[in-house]
């Protein structure tokens, strides 16, 4: 073979690909990576220290005498470890990530830059308030955007994620009920289709959960709801997602709010799907009493492989007095942080300090970038994209509910009937094709659910490619290529993992003897 002097081949001979395993376990760019415990040693370190003389210990005789057992790596080894690991992840920046209910939209890098300004990132939560006026201003400004976008009078900023926001709202409802002396009002209505956090939250706030069924159209069954309210003495309220987890707007929502209010209850709206509404509908106009926002969904703060999130929770006038501390008030040109609940009706404190400041900066940066006009456009594009996917797949996959969807399209597994391929297999085949699977088996009201939320961040071209792949997979499934699906994924860093084994005898940490 001829080659040039840089060792570049000039005319390769085409040979059959032998995918023989490598000695190293690596496959070219895909690096096999050991655990830090297998490569690091306790004595190695990737940090230098300046000489500091010791002083007589004041540790009260509790000096550590045993080893901790923590491996260290030099900086170059550390870089490599995490860069290699990172490449084993899918990510929004790599491809379509159409996880329904998760709003995996573009995470602007401007937001990352802003959150790292020393004036935000390097500020202590307990500095004198005179030294953090900009931080308080930011929180107040963001709160103002949130109130205007939701049409609600107030927002509790401290909740740390969506589920924490649910706690906030439901605790406010409990506190309001308790303040009225309505200790018997403990029953909370929750649709079957609700996200798991809803019932879990209700119980964590001392409520009992009463499930309400859905209609064939995928919405709250109003007849069933009315039945539940016949004896409404113990009704504390309802927790309802809107658009609901089927991606549908709850058409009767105003009526629902009225019924709940008439029963002396409160309306908690799960705002995880607010991306379908921003700038088009204000939940405050629907009669809700509380709703969390997931800044890490609707307002683009990164998911970070599972967090951190931020769940500011808007509250109606009725719940406002019970809002948790802390909160920011503006007095003239000065911002003040109210940290102490003593002597107020506030239900107390939900967390240390003042909430997810880092996420606030990012979310405000997102909102300001879009503006009122851009936010509305984003919502429209999100709904348009979802409907485009739904319309483009409706002939080969089975749309769960007819009609337009909102920001996500729900399919069931009836199109896979008798193919031997199930929803999970279908999803794993998507992985091989370079796509993150959609949300599966949720909501529970649909068999083998596939919930696709493309968000506004996908271009038409990207969606067209996605649709082509989905159509091709659907036809392969129908054409009896079940083996292809059962084997998938074959191109991912690992093949299917044994979850049963993981749960049966859990190995939750590395141990020297385990190797």
């Amino acid at each position: 073979m001829s080659m040039n002097r840089e060792g570049r081949s000039t005319a390769p001979v085409s040979t059959n690909v032998t995918t023989s395993p490598t000695v190293s376990g690596n496959k070219a760019l895909a690096q096999k990576e050991l655990l830090i415990f297998e490569v690091g040693t306790p004595r190695r370190t990737g940090v230098d220290f300046s000489d500091t003389p010791s002083r007589p210990s004041r540790l009260g005789g509790l000096e550590r005498t045993s080893d901790i057992g923590l491996p260290g790596l030099s900086e170059p080894e550390t870089l490599r470890h995490y860069v290699r690991l990172s490449q084993k992840n899918f990510a929004i920046d790599l491809g379509v990530y159409p996880l329904g209910s998760c709003t995996m939209k573009h995470n602007p890098r401007l937001n990352e830059k802003m959150a790292r300004l020393p004036g935000f990132a390097d500020v202590h939560p307990l500095q004198p308030q005179s030294t953090v006026q900009g931080a308080l201003e930011l929180i107040d400004t963001l709160a103002d955007w949130i109130c205007k976008l939701t049409g609600m009078p107030a927002v509790a900023m401290s909740p740390k994620a969506g589920a924490h926001g649910e706690l906030c709202g439901m605790m406010a409802i409990r506190a309001a009920l308790d303040a009225k002396g309505a200790a018997h009002k403990r029953r909370v209505l929750v649709p079957e289709s609700a996200h798991g956090t809803n019932p879990a939250t209700a119980v964590q706030c001392g409520f009992t959960v009463d499930e309400i069924p859905a209609t064939d159209g995928g919405r709250v069954d109003m007849a069933a709801l009315r039945l539940k309210l016949v004896d409404s003495d113990d009704i504390a309220g309802i927790m309802l997602t809107n658009p609901n987890t089927c991606g549908l707007f709850e058409t009767d929502i105003i009526e629902i709010a009225k019924l709940i209010h008439d029963a002396g209850g409160y309306f908690y709206c799960d705002g995880a799907n607010f991306n379908a509404l921003v700038g088009k509908v204000r939940p405050g106009d629907l009669g809700i009493d509380a709703m969390h926002l997931n800044l890490h969904k609707t307002f683009s703060t990164p998911h970070g492989g599972g967090g951190p999130g931020s769940g500011p929770t808007v509250l109606s006038d009725a719940l406002l007095p019970f809002a948790p501390v802390p909160y920011v008030v503006k007095q003239g040109e000065t911002y003040r942080l109210v940290e102490d609940a003593t002597g107020t009706q506030s239900f107390g404190r939900m967390t240390a300090f003042h909430g997810q400041m880092g996420m606030f900066v990012r979310a405000l940066s997102y909102m300001m970038s879009h503006g009122a006009d851009g936010l509305r456009q984003a919502t429209q594009d999100a709904v348009l994209n979802a409907n485009y996917v739904q319309a483009s797949l409706s002939d080969v996959m089975s749309v769960a509910f007819s009609g337009y969807c909102m920001h996500e399209a729900l399919f069931d597994d009836s199109f896979l009937k008798d193919t031997g391929v199930d929803t999970l297999d279908f999803a794993k085949a998507m992985i091989d094709e370079g796509y993150h699977p959609m949300t599966m088996y949720f909501p529970l009201v649909v068999h083998g659910a596939m919930l696709i939320e493309p968000t506004e961040s996908e271009s038409k071209g990207e969606l067209d490619r996605f649709i082509k792949v989905m159509r091709s997979l659907a036809s392969r499934a129908k054409n009896g290529e079940v083996a292809h699906f059962k084997a998938a994924p074959v191109h991912a860093p690992l093949r299917r993992l044994d979850e049963t084994r993981a749960a049966r005898k859990p190995i939750l940490r590395w141990r020297p003897e385990a190797e």
């Binding site: 415990f37 009260g60 550590r64 573009h106 802003m114 337009y404 860093p493 093949r495 190995i507 940490r509």
Partner: protein, 450 residues
Amino acid sequence: MRYLPLNENDRKAMLAKIGAPDVDALFGDVPKSARLTDLIDLPLRQTESEVDSALTQMAGKNRAAGSGPFFIGGGAYRHHIPASVDHLIQRSEFLTAYTPYQPEISQGTLQVLFEFQTQVAQLTGMDVANASMYDGSTACAEAALMACRATRRKKVHLAAGLHPHYRETTKTQGKFQGIEVRPCRSRPGHDENVMIGMDKDSAAIVVQSPNVFGEIVDLQPYADAAHAVGALLIAVFTEPLAFGAIKSPGEMGADIVVGEGQSIGVGLNFGGPYLGLLACRQKLVRQMPGRVCGQTVDANGERGFVLTLSTREQHIRREKATSNICTNSGLCTVAFSIHMTLLGEAGLRELARINHAKACQLADMLTEIDGVELVTDTFFNEFTLRLSKPARAVTHHMVEKSNVLGGLAASRLMADDNKSQDDLLIVCATETNSEADMTAFEAALKEALS
């Protein structure tokens, strides 16, 4: 708009495919009365540089900790974070991934979680740790609930040295679940009061060490007392670095260890996002809240990692879940784990030694000043002083006159307690404090008290 890929041609073509006349038709399910016709009264779109300069201006109104002498702790600690940590957590593959529900294409996050869990378990002396909670305070509250589940009891005792925000968070969480949370009044040197009233109904006692005043508490007597009545000891910390210098809670009999991980890799961030750490003994594993990552094999027998034990969690168990937590502190665990890997055992211990040395030096310097008395005999990198003047006024004076953020007035945290804490100043020193910083603090405090 720079973030929106669709253009008008795309939109038209897509509407045609859908068969909708216009985009508003897609919103047809919204009751007419609730459809907005006008734009919401908020500013219009702004360019990247406009947003940049507006937010930079806001940031400029804050006194960044690093822009002058800085000695505040109180549950959040300022340490130097290597540049590589921030670089790595900004990688798209960590930053823009969701919870690793599809393990075949999430091994990056999952292996980091597995390593993180091991690091936390080692550091705390526990058998296992979960994949994080929101922050130390919510981890503390969740630990209290967890202890109640494990013991099937409903009474929890909180020690005097527990960070007041943790106490309040635990009280809030407990009160709606019918759990009797019995706090002690915040004051230094009175942790043992927590044992008063402990009995066969007690699920747990919650003791922090180093506590909010900086005191190092020997947990063993608390563990013994708790175990004697069938209760659990929940050990709390806010400064994980301390375990580079002192015994781990696991070595002193704790059953559950919870705390704040912000100190390693995460940064101050004006209070969030932070990183809740939760670790426990093996036997309590199935009572743990939150996600946990476990080892398994793939179809080819290769080692891999998955989220596991999910039958504890809300998405499977719904109203019977151990907690409602879903999103946790994902990326902060990555930051923590990277920083911890860079430090390693040797680095962590040296860093802890330096922190202690700095705090000792500072305590010696400040207690030379008239009107300053050291309240905490033992401490790691944070200690409490009693001043001859109200501490809040002193801290304000110091920052205004000398640009020194000289500690935390205890009353800021303990506003709801009686006034006896007004003259207490909680002071923290770390490796980030230079000699010049300390001298400036000394001078500022002297001036403020004179």
